[in-house]
């Protein structure tokens, strides 16, 4: 047997889809340019904001700016700290999410698994429509109609559970508190979370629900042990989306919350003092001095970075929570 040379496959050619004719090149070129504009826009936003914000970061110190309290342009040196505002943003957003999530999941479950077809269809359209109501309209409803009602609830809550620091109130007045702002935010994000959750429920593999029922599961055990765990990743993604929206909420919170820049309100949600970074920007913008503008830019940068981090966490959780999706 003659020794055979080891088998060598013909060299592998790389197949590339490349535009060859001029019109095609133009076509692809336009598409590429447009897509790269996304890169341009995002970088431009960060660059210009940081550029304009830099003086504020420099004069206040980064950590002081983010975590300190007090916003006073009459002092010398000028004090620009967003600590209470940043905490307030998260506090209000959290209250909103805590109220919104159980209600949103209930509606989604009701529409997908309980309601008869006709009712489900109308309810879906209603929820999707409500998700499109601009927040400024909800802010209007919040400040002129809802605030007094919610203040009444806050008063009840305080009279019964006021011994808890969470529900204490020393001002005697219950309007313009994080509690009310949180409820208004909740009203805003319930349709969003409900819409996403309902979509996830409807796209679930029916086979495993049938498997659960065939094994002797009833409605509740199927929901708790099969439907929720399988949908969990997507639902968390939807919740974080709502959270991001709540953090960026500007006008509605501005209408219903009393912004206090010098003091942190950590947990006394019935007190009429709170904060929100976006509303700070809106409030101070009109008559801001140049140095103050730099501070507002800096606040915008911090807010944007915070939402970016939350979105990244959301994507991570959604990917991790569904290891079987590979």
């Amino acid at each position: 047997m003659t020794a055979e040379a080891p088998y060598q496959a013909t060299p592998r050619r790389k197949l590339v889809v490349k535009p060859s004719t001029v019109p095609d090149k133009v076509f692809f070129g336009i598409a590429t340019a447009a897509a790269y504009s996304a890169i341009v826009i995002t970088s431009a936003i960060l660059i210009f904001l940081v550029l304009r914000a830099w003086p504020a970061f420099e004069s206040q110190g980064l950590l002081n700016f983010i975590f300190g309290s007090g916003w006073d342009t009459s002092l010398d040196p000028i004090v620009l700290h967003i600590g209470p505002m940043l905490w307030g943003s998260f506090l209000v957003a959290t209250i909103g999410v805590i109220f919104a999530v159980p209600m949103a999941i209930s509606i989604a479950y009701f529409i997908e698994f309980i309601a008869p077809k006709a009712l489900a269809k109308s309810a879906t359209i209603l929820v999707d429509l409500l998700a499109a109501i601009p927040s400024v309209v909800i802010g209007l409803w919040g400040v002129s109609l809802f605030s007094t009602v919610a203040a009444g609830w806050a008063q009840e809550l305080n009279s019964v559970l006021g011994w808890l620091p969470l529900f204490s109130n020393n001002a005697g007045n219950f309007l313009r508190s994080p509690f009310i702002a949180g409820l208004v935010v909740a009203v805003m994000i319930v349709p969003i979370i409900a819409s996403i959750t309902r979509e996830i429920f409807s796209q679930m593999d029916q086979e495993i629900i049938k498997a659960s029922l065939a094994l002797g599961g009833n409605r509740e055990s199927t929901f708790r042990k099969v439907i929720l765990p399988t949908a969990a990743g997507g639902v968390v993604g939807g919740v974080l989306l709502g959270l991001g929206r709540a953090l960026g909420e500007t006008v509605a919170i501005f209408f219903v919350l009393n912004l206090v820049y010098d003091d942190f309100n950590f947990y006394q949600i019935l007190e009429p003092k709170g904060g929100a970074v976006a509303s700070l920007i809106l409030a101070k913008f009109g008559e801001a001095t140049p140095a103050e503008i730099a501070g507002l830019m800096a606040a915008g940068v911090v807010l944007f970075v915070a939402t970016l981090i939350i979105n990244a966490i959301a994507s991570y959780i959604v990917a991790k929570a569904q290891p079987w999706r590979n």
Binding site: A35, W141, D205
Partner: protein
């Protein structure tokens, strides 16, 4: 066994659902447990005169939970308790939220309706004092302003968004993943920060004064992710066979796209545009930071103050007068009508194409 059996179909009898028959006693228990807690709570409410919400949560809800659990237990034993509870909680929350949301909708319609009249739609507010009665003045100028500013933003964003979607779906570009992530990040941009950006770029640097087009530019990063994402999905839904068929016939990529893919995805693209517009039509904060409000009708988007519906609303709320608040409600209703029309149009556009349910199965 070849006996001649009658094989023809028989009409469905009336009692073809034996599982729907519930034992009469269980039926009674269910009926009782649905009605009794409400009756008791109502009685409590009327007698004690306590506040509605308090009674709802501290009397009605616990009673209903107990009743639901009991009905479940009565019918199905221990297992049934949680079943009953789940139903009670779901019905309660779902109803609560729907009522709340519908009341928001209703209050806009009711209050806005008081301010609305034909002239409200086309008059502007020149020479109209904030405390003036509602017979004069309107949001005509704001409607035009919204139309111009959102229109300019749309004209810029839609081609950009569709072209980006084309890049993601048609080319094999290496940056596709990066672009998608960036668009995702852009969708999280707080609207006020978008306004700050344009302010920093154009106004604070002195390139321009507050003007309508600055507002349009601020709306672009808010619209782009939506338009691009929905357009991308619409393009993806077009079956690959169509495109491949065109390519196999010798069509260049651009022809295949323009003459085959795009028409097939047209309803989805229209939806993308409509949803993008609906998203930004109510945006307030970016416009406050980049435009000047005005009472007159200004058609020059590059110069001068220009009011839009959301900024009109904002201004009239912050003024604080009763009449100005009513005008704000009117503006809110106009916005709602516009959003409703856009929504109906989007649904109409997608109605003709059967949307395939994307089954994410491996």
């Amino acid at each position: 066994m070849e006996k001649l059996i009658d094989l023809s179909p028989v009409e469905r009898p009336a009692n073809a659902q034996p599982w729907a028959k519930i034992q009469p006693r269980l039926k009674g228990v269910i009926a009782l447990s649905s009605v009794l807690p409400a009756v008791i709570a109502l009685a409590f409410l009327l007698i004690s005169g306590n506040e509605f919400m308090g009674v709802l949560f501290t009397v009605f809800l616990p009673l209903q939970i107990l009743a639901g659990g009991f009905a479940g237990f009565y019918g199905f034993g221990r297992r049934g308790i949680l079943d009953g509870l789940l139903l009670v909680v779901t019905y309660f929350f779902a109803t609560f939220v729907l009522v709340l949301l519908v009341s928001v909708l209703w209050s806009v319609i009711e209050n806005g309706g008081k301010a609305i009249s034909p002239h409200f739609f086309y008059q502007n507010n020149v020479y109209v004092d904030p405390t003036a009665p509602l017979e004069i003045g309107g949001v005509g100028h704001a409607i035009i302003g919204s139309f111009l500013i959102v229109g300019l933003a749309t004209v810029i964003t839609v081609p950009l968004g569709i072209a980006t979607a084309v890049y993601i779906t048609e080319t094999q570009g290496k940056s596709r993943g990066l672009i998608r992530s960036l668009l995702q990040a852009m969708s999280g941009l707080p609207s006020v920060v978008a306004g700050l950006f344009i302010y920093a770029l154009l106004i604070a640097s002195g390139i321009t004064q507050y003007a309508g087009f600055a507002g349009s530019l601020a709306l672009i990063p808010l619209m782009l992710p939506t338009v691009s994402r929905v357009a991308e999905e619409a393009l993806r839904l077009v079956p690959k066979e169509l495109r491949n068929g065109a390519l196999a016939l010798g069509a260049p990529a651009w022809r295949a796209f323009l003459q085959v893919t795009l028409p097939a995805a047209s309803s989805g693209i229209v939806t993308a545009v409509l949803l993008g517009v609906a998203r930004v039509i109510g945006e307030t904060a970016p416009l406050i930071l980049t435009t000047f409000s005005a009472n007159n009708t200004n058609l020059n988007i590059f110069e001068g103050g220009m009011s839009t519906l959301p900024t009109y609303l904002y201004n009239y709320v912050t003024m604080g007068f009763d009449t100005s608040l009513q005008r704000a409600w009117g503006a809110a209703l106009v916005i709602l009508i516009l959003v409703g029309v856009l929504f109906a149009a989007a649904r109409f556009a997608t109605r003709s194409t059967p949307a395939p349910k994307a089954k994410k199965r491996k």
